[in-house]
Amino acid sequence: MDRSSDSQDHGRIKRQKTEDTDSRYFEEDDDDGGVKLGNFGQAVEVKLKKEDLAKSDRYTEGLDTSVAKISKKKRKREEETDQAPNPYLAHQYEETPKKKELDPRANPYLAHRYEEPAEDEGSYNGYSNGYGRPAKRMNGVSNASSMARFPRHKSTAAMARNAEDGPNNPFSGQLLSSQYFSILKTRRNLPVHQQRDEFLQMYQKSQFLVFVGETGSGKTTQIPQFVLFDDQPHIQRKLVACTQPRRVAAMSVAQRVANEMDVTLGDEVGYNIRFEDVTSQKTILKYMTDGMLLREAMNDNNLNRYSTIILDEAHERTLATDTLMGLLKEVAQRRPDLKIVIMSATLDAQKFQSYFNDAPLLAVPGRTHPVEIFYTPEPERDYVEASLRTVLQIHASEPEGDILLFLTGEEEIEDACRKIRLEADEMIREADAGPLTVYPLYGTLPPSQQQKIFDPAPPPSRNGGRPGRKCIVSTNIAETSLTIDGIVYVVDPGFSKQKIYNPRIRIESLLVSPISKASAQQRAGRAGRTRPGKCFRLYTEAAFKKELIETTYPEVLRSNLSSTVLDLKKLGIDDLVHFDLMDPPAPETMMRALEELNYLACLDDEGNLTALGKLASEFPLDPTLAVMLISSPEFYCSNEVLSLTALLSVPQVFVRPASARKRADEMKALFAHPDGDHLTMLNVYHAFKGPEAQASPKRWCHDHFISLRALQSADNVRQQLKRIMETHEIELVSVPFEDKNYYTNIRRALVAGFFMQVAMKEGNSKTYVTVKDNQNVILHPSTALQTESDWLLYNEFVLTTKNYIRTVTTVKPEWLMDIAPTYYDITTFGKGPVKSALQRTIDKVRRKEATKGGRR
């Protein structure tokens, strides 16, 4: 599934890949690799609360039916008992007589284990993760908590429940607040609580456990807490980790769980995402991005700090999740005491089970409203046009309820929004339709505008008029990353923009591709969150069955693996060929990765990490960028290359709104450097840092059609990278701006990293051919390049109906052969224009030297 949309964190700053379409070049980038920070933070947080409170919201399709049946019964029972009239008494209702029997306190043989809770309000139970606990605990202050001396890995739900009921916080020892109890009540209404005992039994029995339950079942917030009570990491002086693919989720869930446990965020519960570590010595439960856990594993190959690792949202199959899963399979053999819980959505549970040595499976059904699915009788000629038509038809004829339309990219979405607004206005005038507000939603949208999607639908335009509704036109962000209540109608044209990598022509691009069946189900499920809904699929049922693949290809099959290979090496995995990935990619992908790292001198010919490789892996960057940055002091421009690296790691800095393209282009021309786009970007950055811009950055950016957000995050990234450089004593140097080699140095430094991304001009035409892969490419229209040059270095090879190279800078063939002699070894080239051009260069250099020698 392509969950790359929002800000994922792979622990690495990904090089910016931008989407493209012919002449339109102000485009969004769905895969911004997590540079963006919590724009959704607040929203998600609020939503999560709602989600957790919501009685039901799951989409049961595809669930194991037997499980569904069983739990339905259970649920019914719970619902009956849960009808507590007084919320403050809720916890009492919870204790049905039958359950009381299970309470070990009631068991006379176990009575000695349970002391009466101490009255001492400020006392600690004395246990936390034990990293230098306050002396107080060491002094053996009474074990106040009701969970003291819980039998580790033998506890039951009833014991835990008892401990949860307080009155003291079982972990911090503080008296629990009334807010805690009100949250506790709603927590116990969550589907997962019905199966707490079942979960504990399985968890205790097996090293691996696959847990299936969709968002809203409460798994992300509750399961880690269940684990805490049984695993008791504070006694073990260890931690429980719960990984999330997205940074925002890690942050907001940690906050939520801290509230639920009545502790301060950063104390017992904390989070750790790239550049942000909110944990302390007390922390026993840590939410983190999967990329962060990988980073930790690089320095601690056995993950000894952790007693339990929970991989959440494993079905998203991000690169980091897949790598972690392979790693954990190995670590588990070395560490039999480590417990691993894999949490996933329903669809590929069995695949996870068999991958983890037939691990036991526990499934918690969701509770959703039914969603009626409609297909078109014929395939659509134009899916955009068809989706507009469908939206308007829904608005005209369906009862109240909001609409969610899935499209692929920024331009398409903005265009659709405009058209829907126009048509809707006409419908209001002529057919007395209700008001319709339309909101776009995509990754690069400013946060303030992203917030707007949560605004309620407009009221009827007059008293007694037809109700208004809102329509959200979104990328696949809205598929999983973000939940919008009130959606009743989903329009699904069946496409999304997905990253794809092919090692044969070394292209990594975002392409519009058909979604998978799993994605389609997920999209449909969005319609049934608040009440029964409808999903309009703009393709035939036959096409759904025949044309759509079952599940979206995991990221590991769609990515360049050079960073991953570097990571694996750093994780101590030497047998890359037999590393047990869940979906091993094509061997050619691995070949390319090894080859690239070898040319970059990060790996030697035997595949061992070199000193440079070790250093490069310290940077959360693509190896190409890391190597460029590390070698930049040799070219006397590490300050500039540092800025450039940061700029290449964030979304597009140039803004080009459809309404003011000409003006935007004029403004861009102000910064243009004749030698190309890299230097142009650097000019922007330098101007931004100048006094004029700093006086009022917001205004300056607005006036110059520059994205302030992109520059700010570039600044942020630059800070982080600078710190790493300082730790590793990489010098920060510059030559004076007046030096005639100022820009030449930078261009040469670029070659040190990007020498594998060079294209040569073909004869007199405007086309270029990529070196070694011999692909015909043309310059992207957005380029600022003004010099004619036979050789260009490019940041990106973009695939559309045409092949474009984007973000280019002129280079000289002498530099290529000088800086990357192995790659440009002329004997390795096949006959062709590139070889002859290189030969001419060699001859020229030789002649020059000969004349020089002669003069001497």
Binding site: T376, P379, E380, R381, D382, Y383, P493, F495, I500, N502, P503, R504, I505, L511, V512, S513, P514, L538, Y539, A543, F544, E547, L548, L557, L576, V577, H578, F579, D580, L581, M582, D583, P584, P585, A586, P587, E588, T589, M590, M591, L594, E595, N598, L603, D605, E606, G607, G763, S765, T767, V769, D773, Q775, N776, V777, K802, N803, G830, K831, S836
Partner: protein
């Protein structure tokens, strides 16, 4: 020698380079005959090749070349001579094997293919188009097959129809000669005998066309777009801007002309015999009612 997808590009190179290019060019060409080419032939061929190379390519050609190069590269696996392959081999990789655990059924051996979406066709549109195209091709093939057998028959039938049509017009002209009132007074078309009225209408139409063409030729000196604010309906009619109203529809005639050629001819032939004692086939007007000497009313009888 490496296979190339398009003729080599690039600036015209000095002689030794040229030789290389020419070597690779010949691969695409038909095998050379055993005969040695003459100096002139060689010169002309080289000239042509140089021309082809120096001609700037059209955008479409460039796009096609880029596409071809891409598809070619996408379908070619990395060679075992590549550095990456050798590094993998050192790690224990065997050619043709997959990565990962040996028992993993999900392991891929081929990279995912790249499909660039070039239009806004919905899911399933592409295969629907292919299906329709296939069906159409199949349909055309079937039709062709069916027609192949009946070709002679069809041609023969067409020729016969043409002949009968000719005879029909001849018979009409003959009847006109017999029935046209002496003195050549104009008779309104719709008063004329239905059986040869077609001839009259044909002539009228031809005349109208001729006049229209004449008017057009004369009015060409005037800009077609010129609008005289003072001209009225009659002016316009006179200037040929407005076509004269065609005479009333002649349903009777249309119906008659709509009949099969044979049927019309038979009606005419019978009418000639009955009314004018004329045998169309003997080309003779008999004196008496019995038409003695005429073998019969059918064409076949007159062989």
């Amino acid at each position: 020698m490496a296979k190339i997808a398009s003729p080599p590009l690039g600036p015209v190179e000095p002689a030794p380079e040229d030789l290389d290019d020419y070597m690779s060019m010949t691969i695409a060409e038909p095998p050379k005959s055993a005969e040695k080419e003459t100096y002139t032939q060689r010169r002309i061929r080289k000239q042509r090749q140089a021309d082809a190379r120096s001609r700037p390519k059209s955008k479409a050609e460039l796009a096609a070349a880029a596409h071809a190069a891409r598809d070619d590269a996408l379908s070619t696996a990395l060679p075992s001579t590549s550095k990456g392959f050798q590094m993998m081999a050192k790690l224990g990789f065997k050619p043709g094997a997959a990565l990962g655990a040996s028992s993993n059924p999900n392991a891929r051996t081929e990279p995912l293919n790249i499909a660039v979406k070039e239009d806004r066709g919905g899911v399933g549109m592409q295969s629907e188009k292919k299906r329709k195209f296939r069906e159409e091709v199949e349909g055309v093939e079937k039709k062709q097959k069916a027609e192949e057998g009946g070709y002679r028959e069809r041609v023969g039938r067409e020729r016969e129809e043409k002949r009968i049509e000719g005879l029909f017009w001849g018979a009409m002209r003959l009847l006109e000669g017999l029935e046209l009132p002496e003195g050549g007074d104009e008779v309104p078309a719709n008063k004329v005998n239905l059986l040869w009225r077609g001839l009259v209408r044909e002539r009228q139409e031809k005349e109208r066309e001729r006049r229209a063409r004449y008017d057009l030729a004369r009015s060409l000196s005037r800009s077609a777009a010129y609008e005289d604010p003072e001209e009225d309906e009659y002016d316009r009619q006179a200037l040929g801007k407005e076509v004269e109203e065609v005479e009333d529809e002649d349903e009777e005639l249309d119906e008659f002309l709509g009949l099969e050629g044979e049927e019309r001819l038979r009606t005419l032939v019978e009418y000639l015999r009955q009314e004018h004692r004329y045998c169309f086939w003997c080309k003779f007007r008999y004196e008496d009612e019995k038409m003695e000497g005429c073998p019969g009313w059918k064409e076949d009888d007159h062989d």
